[in-house]
Structure formats: structure tokens, C-alpha cells
């Protein structure tokens, strides 16, 4: 999928990717120029920065393009040489801070326990202290000088990096592949350098670049306050000297104060641009989403609809859900090719297929919730007679609310963890009809008893419910608007055996009681077999089999279905155990 997504990004400039690249280029050019100037300072500067080469307070002239200062030193040369000091202090301080911060963050996140507590309280203290007064106090205490500046700057900016990385490592640590290493007996000395650091490295780079930006600003402030090294002038020192030596009394500030100020601003801008470009690169998910929107509008990538028609029974157009010769493509890749099936009122049709077979795409098309990158290029989906593909987005939303209910895959993530179940149900009810608070509550209680939950559960939060109860709540939400069609996408995956049976029984009972047309999507053939009237089997985007559940399960026509039926482990039990 990622490989496919990447290709169009190269052909056309995707908006976010292009912007990130533009930022990176602009930042890179600015910083490249500054670094070159700093490195080549002895060649570029017309004079030595410390020698008195002109009259004091000379205005700009051909010999001194930026004039001279109060003791006749050339200001242009000073500006060029100061780039070295500013960049040196900024980069060394930021590097130190990033190394310390990353070290502390990684160790705290991985070790946890008292190490984590001790380190993070220290980080909290550093983050809570006011930066500028602290730097001044330390600076005064240690005396002016470059090493003081570096030490002071590094010691106030490492904490942000530490906190950022700790939270990353904390979550990374719980990832299975890190847990697997620990289970193998790997010590921290093995896991941290080989597995944790490479994973967080893409985050460290933008942290460093942005820290450099902060360090340069802090350096300027410190130098301006007189804590810089007078013998190695940075831009901040130049500003400070200009201020104390009365540059503002004459026009001298125009060429004494503005150029170093502008240089600082430019450097900070360069680092900020580069940093944000790096940051965007570290979160590629953002980029892919935008890409999808774009491809949606590009009609040329679509192929002509395929005319394959599977041999299902003739569909009655009056069925609540009719999928008619549906073809869906992601970019140039056809995910669903000419699929036709229908679900009648009170009927439960199971759609079985392995991951990548296109079954979830069919579900998405049926509910008008296709991913942004997908497009219907042939056929149609009729819900209660309305062609979903031909409707405007807000009309689809109304239809989705009133006629189609969706039971999404994971009950825990489908529910809002900080609101009570009753609240969420009431919200689903009032989204579709105007109701007073009392009426909404009555409706909520009715829905809960419909899915066989105690109405008192309305006051509970999702985490207080078991997995099965949560799935019941999700089903209740799907039923809130009294739909005619219910699409359930893997409603039992992740639930244990007892609960799976419970949820399936509930769906089975509901469709009979409410005459719902249910499309049940699962990769698990036995799950579908247990409740479905008819079973549709998909493979690689095509419908390979559609027929009554008993026939498909016991006498499959297509070789693929036969393989599927045979590969599924069956419980073999003698009759006597039935109790």
C-alpha cells in the first residue's frame, strides 16, 4: 500500500510533501549560506575584526560598507566573523542539550520506576524555572565566556527534548517487538542502542534543529546582557556593544544594530524552516492523507468498469441493500471488481474473505464511508433505493443516520472513553431526531434493553464494561436511528469465544425482531456460518461464491471456498457430550 501511495507522490507534487520540501530547501539554502560565510570568514571579511582600520563612527562607504564602530573597527568584518561564534555556540549548546536530553528521556522511559520518577521530577523543575532569570543567575555566577554560555544554554533547553523522547520511549517500550526482545533475555544495553535509538532517531533530528534555533536566540539574549565573551564577538555581543556604546544617539544603529539583528532573525528562520520540514517528514501519516484527497479528484487514473457479473440470484431492486456490479479502485489498483449482492429485510448475509480481499471496501461503499483514496468507478450501491455514489455528501450522511447503521470493528476505540455510555447513546439518538432530554433518556434505556443490557448501565463509562457489553453498546448506537440496513464489520474479532457467540446471537435475534437487513463481514468462516442465511465469499476483489449458508459451508462450488472450508479447524466431539 505504501509503495503504491508513494508513486503518484513522485509524479505530482502532493501539497504537504511539496510544502515540506519547500521549507527544507529554503531552510537549507539560508543555513548553507550562513555556514559558508562563517567558514570562509577570513577570506570574505575585508579586514581583521579586531584591528582599528577607520575613524570611529564612520558612515558606510566603499571602504567600509557598514561603517565602523566607536573605536574604528570595520562593522562588516565584525558581522562576518560573529557568524562563527553565534553558530558555534548555538550548535554546540544544542548538540549538548540534545544528547543529554535524549539520554535522559530514553533512560527514564525505558527504565521506568524510581529512575524515571527522579529524572522526570528534575525535568519538571528545569521546565518550571523561568529561563532568562536562571540563565542570568548561572551566567553571573560562572562569569562571562563562551563555555559559560554553552553550559547555561544547554542546561536550560535539554529538558524539553528529554520529556518528548521519554513519552515516545514509554510507548515504544510496550510495543511487542521490544517486549519480545526482553522476553528473550536482552539487557537494556542491547535493546537501547540497537532497537530503541534507531526508532526515535527521526524524532531527535528535528529536536536538535529546533534546539539550535532556541540556543541561538538565548545566546543573543545572554550576550546582549553582557555575558558573552568580549574577545570573541557574536551577533549578540555586537548588539550589546552597540547599545552600551551609544549607537542609538546617532544614525550609527542603522548599520551597527540592524545587520546583526537581521542576521539572528535569518538564522533562526533557517533553523525553524528546516526543523519543521524534518518534523513533517517524521509524521508521514499526515502526508498520505492529503494524497488521498487529491487522487479522489483525478479521474484519469480510473479504468473503465469491468463487466464481470457473478452468478448470484437475480436481485430484487426492492431489497434494502443492493450492491450492483460494484467496482472500486484505489488510485490505479482495482480493489473490488464487479461485485453484486443484495440483502433482503430480515436477512443476514455473511461476506467472507481474507485480509485484502476487498470485503471491507464493499462495507465502506455500502455505508458511504470509503477511505479518501478509494473511488467507485463502476456499478452502484442502492440503500433503500438511493444510489449512494450519486448523492451529495450531506445526503449520504442523512441516509447513513436514518437508513444504515454501522457496527465498526473495535468496540473500545469506537466509544469515547471519557463519556458515559448513556451520553453517547443519547447523542446518537438526538443526532437524528429532535427530542427533549427525558424522551432521549427513555430512548436510551429502550435501546439498552434492546441489546439485552441493564438500563442502569447508562451511567457507566466504557472501561467499566466487559468487551461483550461494549460491543452491545456499539450495536445499540448503530440502531439508534432505527435503520433498515445494518453493516457489521468484523463485530466479533478480538472477543473471546463465549462473547463471540453472545454477540452473534444478539445480531441474529435483532435482525429477526426488527426485520433488519444485516451484512456481516468477517474473515472467519465459522462465525459467519453460525448465523448467516446466505454467504458471499470474496477473493482478490472478486465475488467467487454466493449461496445459501448450508450449501457454501458443506458443499462449496469454488475451489477457493473449498480450501477455506477445509483449512478451518473443526471441533470433533462425540454426540454423548451434548448436555
Amino acid at each position: 500500500m505504501t509503495g503504491l501511495a508513494a508513486r503518484p507522490a513522485v509524479a505530482r507534487t502532493a501539497p504537504t510533501g511539496g510544502r515540506a520540501r519547500g521549507f527544507a530547501t529554503a531552510g537549507g539554502v539560508i543555513l548553507g549560506l550562513l555556514v559558508t560565510v562563517a567558514l570562509l570568514a577570513p577570506l570574505l571579511a575585508p579586514y581583521a575584526p579586531t584591528s582599528r582600520v577607520g575613524t570611529p563612527f564612520a558612515s558606510p562607504s566603499a571602504a567600509h560598507p557598514l561603517g565602523t564602530n566607536d573605536i574604528g573597527q570595520d562593522l562588516l568584518s565584525e558581522l562576518i566573523f560573529a557568524a562563527r561564534i553565534t553558530l558555534l555556540v548555538g550548535i554546540v549548546a544544542a548538540f549538548t542539550a540534545t544528547v543529554v536530553g535524549a539520554g535522559v528521556g530514553v533512560v527514564a522511559g525505558y527504565a521506568r520506576g524510581w529512575v524515571d520518577t527522579a529524572l522526570m521530577r528534575l525535568v519538571d523543575v528545569v521546565l518550571a524555572l523561568p529561563v532568562l532569570p536562571l540563565t542570568i543567575v548561572i551566567g553571573v555566577f560562572l562569569g562571562p565566556g563562551l563555555s559559560t554560555q554553552i553550559l547555561v544554554i544547554a542546561s536550560v533547553i535539554w529538558a524539553g527534548t528529554a520529556r518528548e523522547l521519554r513519552s515516545q520511549v514509554l510507548s515504544l517500550r510496550e510495543h511487542d517487538h521490544i517486549q519480545a526482545l526482553r522476553a528473550m533475555g536482552a539487557r537494556a544495553g542491547h535493546v537501547l542502542p540497537r532497537h530503541v535509538l534507531p526508532s526515535v532517531a527521526p524524532l531527535i533530528v528535528p529536536q536538535f534543529v529546533l534546539a539550535t534555533k532556541t540556543a541561538i536566540l538565548l545566546e543573543a539574549s545572554l550576550a546582549f546582557l553582557g555575558l558573552g565573551d568580549i574577545t570573541a564577538k557574536s551577533w549578540g555581543t555586537t548588539l550589546s556593544l552597540g547599545y552600551t556604546r551609544s549607537a542609538f544617539l546617532t544614525d550609527a544603529w542603522l548599520w551597527w544594530v540592524i545587520p546583526p539583528g537581521a542576521a539572528i532573525a535569518l538564522t533562526v528562520l533557517g533553523f525553524a524552516l528546516l526543523g519543521s520540514a524534518f518534523e513533517e517528514r517524521a509524521r508521514p501519516s499526515l502526508r498520505d492523507r492529503r494524497l488521498g484527497d487529491r487522487r479522489l479528484g483525478d479521474r484519469r487514473t480510473g479504468r473503465s468498469p469491468r463487466a464481470t457479473h457473478s452468478g448470484g440470484p437475480a436481485e430484487l431492486p426492492s431489497h434494502p441493500l443492493v450492491v450492483d456490479d460494484l467496482t472500486v479502485a484505489y488510485g490505479g489498483r482495482v480493489a473490488v471488481a464487479g461485485v453484486s449482492l443484495s440483502v433482503g429485510p430480515g436477512e443476514l448475509v455473511g461476506l467472507v474473505g481474507e485480509s485484502g480481499s476487498g470485503k471491507s471496501t464493499v462495507a465502506g461503499a455500502a455505508t458511504g464511508l470509503l477511505p479518501a483514496a478509494a473511488r467507485i468507478i463502476g456499478g452502484r450501491v442502492l440503500v433503500c433505493g438511493h444510489d449512494i455514489g450519486a448523492l451529495a455528501p450531506n445526503e449520504v450522511r442523512v441516509l447513513r443516520g436514518n437508513r444504515i447503521g454501522l457496527v465498526p470493528q473495535e468496540a473500545m476505540s469506537a466509544l469515547n472513553p471519557v463519556r458515559t455510555v448513556g451520553d453517547q447513546l443519547a447523542e446518537a439518538v438526538t443526532a437524528h431526531q429532535r427530542l427533549g432530554r427525558a424522551a432521549a433518556r427513555a430512548c436510551t434505556e429502550q435501546l439498552l434493553s434492546l441489546v439485552a443490557l441493564d438500563p442502569d448501565r447508562a451511567r457507566d463509562y466504557p472501561h467499566q464494561l466487559s468487551g461483550g457489553m461494549r460491543q452491545r453498546v456499539v450495536i445499540a448506537i448503530a440502531l439508534a436511528a432505527d435503520p433498515e440496513v445494518l453493516v457489521a464489520d468484523e463485530p466479533t474479532s478480538g472477543l473471546d469465544l463465549l462473547v463471540q457467540a453472545e454477540v452473534l446471537d444478539l445480531l441474529d435475534a435483532l435482525r429477526r425482531r426488527l426485520r433488519l437487513a444485516v451484512l456481516l463481514i468477517s474473515h472467519d468462516l465459522p462465525v459467519v456460518e453460525a448465523v448467516a442465511d446466505r454467504i458471499a465469499v470474496m477473493r482478490a476483489g472478486e465475488l467467487v461464491e454466493l449461496g445459501p449458508a448450508g450449501r457454501v459451508g458443506s458443499d462449496p462450488a469454488h475451489p477457493y471456498t473449498r480450501g477455506l472450508v477445509e483449512a478451518t479447524p473443526r471441533l470433533r466431539l462425540p454426540e454423548v457430550t451434548r448436555s
Binding site: Q179, A183, M184, G185, L497, L498, D524, A567, L571, T577
Partner: protein, 259 residues
């Protein structure tokens, strides 16, 4: 005969995040796995099945109880001694999409336990392990996890488990995240490893049909306690505990054509 793995009175509690109370995940669990035997640990979600495996490999610290590997209590061992003994067992995780490091090629993933335990002749051992799970080494060594299917990834995870030639593999719902048609395949692989290499397996699953396919004995766990154990046939045909009966009933509901 001393069993290979004996868990005695294992009790594990977790501090609940919200209230700070201690929640008991395992309560006096006893179970044993003999050398070369496959034991199925079954039960619903939240029964504590995974916690047993995680305690055995040292990811979770037990509050009470002993975990005997070949008669030595590994809970009481020093960290270094424990690390050395971990090479004799390996935990295969449920989700092959998450359990493999995404940045390393298959060859290096499988070699990882050898690097951790500083064992020699990596290339030969990695080749053997990949061959044992039916992944031709020359085709798979340099591929990355994202280029593999779920079933192939789980095979890589098993190759990594085999490379140190452990005597015990703990498999935590190894088929749960796989498509239905691959489940039987992984169960067969487990069976084959046991038959060919004499590896003992603790197979954690909630799928009774799958357990029946590969296990000699079953241990039924509910709410952190063992409610029933016995040979696979005995437990499935003459369930003594009501919970086991309920599990069987549900399994029958989900497998309508149970013979």
C-alpha cells in the same frame, strides 16, 4: 520425572491505573509441561492466559509462587543467571505485525537471540531455523517484515524462537491475528516442531478446535485460576467444570458442523 516447566502457586497482581488498588490477575496457578509435550492453555479473554506466559519469560514479576525450569526456581535466580536460562524458552507473540522489529531484515531478526546470548555460528543456525519453518533462507534472509504476509511473519517469529534451540516454546494465541485459512497451518507447524525437534509447547488459545488439533493436555483458566485440567480428549468429551462446558457450547455454536 521432573517436568520441564512447572508453575506452582503462581500469583500475579497488577496495580490498577485508576484507583491504585491491586488487581489479582493470577491466583495460585499450577501447571506443568513435560519435555516434548504440547499443553493447551485455554480460557476466555481476561482469564490470565497471557499473564502466565509473560511471567514465565520474566516480563511480569510474580507476587508469589515458583516457576521451575528443570527443577530450578527461576524466580529466585539472579538477573544474570535468569538471562542465561531464557535461551531455553521463547515466547511467540500474538501479533506478528507488531512483534518483529520493522527496521531489520529477516536474517537479522532471526539472529537476534544469538546476538543477545552471544552464541556462535549465526549464519548456519539462522539457515536451519528458517528451513525448519519452511521459509527458503536464500529468498527470505534479506526481506523486511513489511514485505511479508501475516503467515510468513509468524513463521519468521517461530524461526526466531527456534534459533537458540530452546526446549520450550510459549505461543500466545499465535494464530489470532491471521486469516482463518492460515490458522490450521500454524497449528500444524507447532505440531511438526514438537514431533521433529522435541520442543515442548505451551499453546495459549481460546480456540478449542485449534487446541484439539495440536495439544496433548489442556489446562482451562478462568479468572486467574485453573478450573480444570486433563488430557485433551478427557476435557473436551467429559468437561467437569461448568465453565468448560460453556466454552464447549460456544465453540459448538461457532462451529455448526461439529462432528
Amino acid at each position: 520425572m521432573t517436568p520441564l516447566l512447572a508453575v506452582q502457586g503462581l500469583t500475579v497482581t497488577f496495580r490498577s491505573r485508576g484507583s491504585g488498588r491491586r488487581v489479582r490477575a493470577l491466583d495460585g496457578v499450577d501447571l506443568a509441561v513435560r519435555a516434548g509435550e504440547t499443553v493447551g492453555l485455554v480460557g476466555g479473554s481476561g482469564a490470565g492466559k497471557s499473564t502466565v506466559a509473560r511471567a514465565v519469560v520474566g516480563l511480569v514479576r510474580p507476587d508469589r509462587g515458583r516457576i521451575l525450569l528443570d527443577g530450578t526456581d527461576i524466580v529466585a535466580l539472579s538477573r544474570a543467571a535468569l538471562r542465561a536460562r531464557r535461551r531455553e524458552m521463547h515466547l511467540v507473540f500474538q501479533d506478528p505485525y507488531a512483534a518483529l522489529p520493522p527496521t531489520l531484515p529477516v536474517g537479522r531478526i532471526v539472529a537476534e537471540p544469538l546476538v543477545i546470548h552471544r552464541l556462535g555460528d549465526r549464519d548456519a543456525l539462522v539457515h536451519d531455523a528458517l528451513a525448519a519453518v519452511h521459509l527458503p533462507p536464500d529468498r527470505y534472509l534479506s526481506r523486511f517484515p513489511h514485505q511479508l504476509s501475516g503467515g510468513e511473519r509468524q513463521r519468521v517469529a517461530f524461526a526466531r524462537a527456534l534459533v537458540t534451540e530452546p526446549r520450550l516454546i510459549l505461543a500466545d494465541e499465535p494464530t489470532q491475528m491471521l486469516d482463518a485459512s492460515l490458522r490450521g497451518e500454524i497449528a500444524d507447524l507447532l505440531e511438526e516442531l514438537r514431533a521433529r525437534r522435541g520442543v515442548a509447547v505451551l499453546h495459549i488459545t481460546h480456540d478449542l478446535a485449534l487446541a484439539q488439533r495440536s495439544c496433548d493436555r489442556l489446562v482451562v483458566l478462568r479468572g486467574g485460576r485453573v478450573v480444570e485440567e486433563g488430557t485433551c480428549d478427557a476435557v473436551l468429551t467429559r468437561p467437569a467444570h461448568p465453565y468448560t462446558r460453556a466454552l464447549l457450547q460456544a465453540a459448538r455454536r461457532l462451529h455448526p458442523r461439529t462432528a
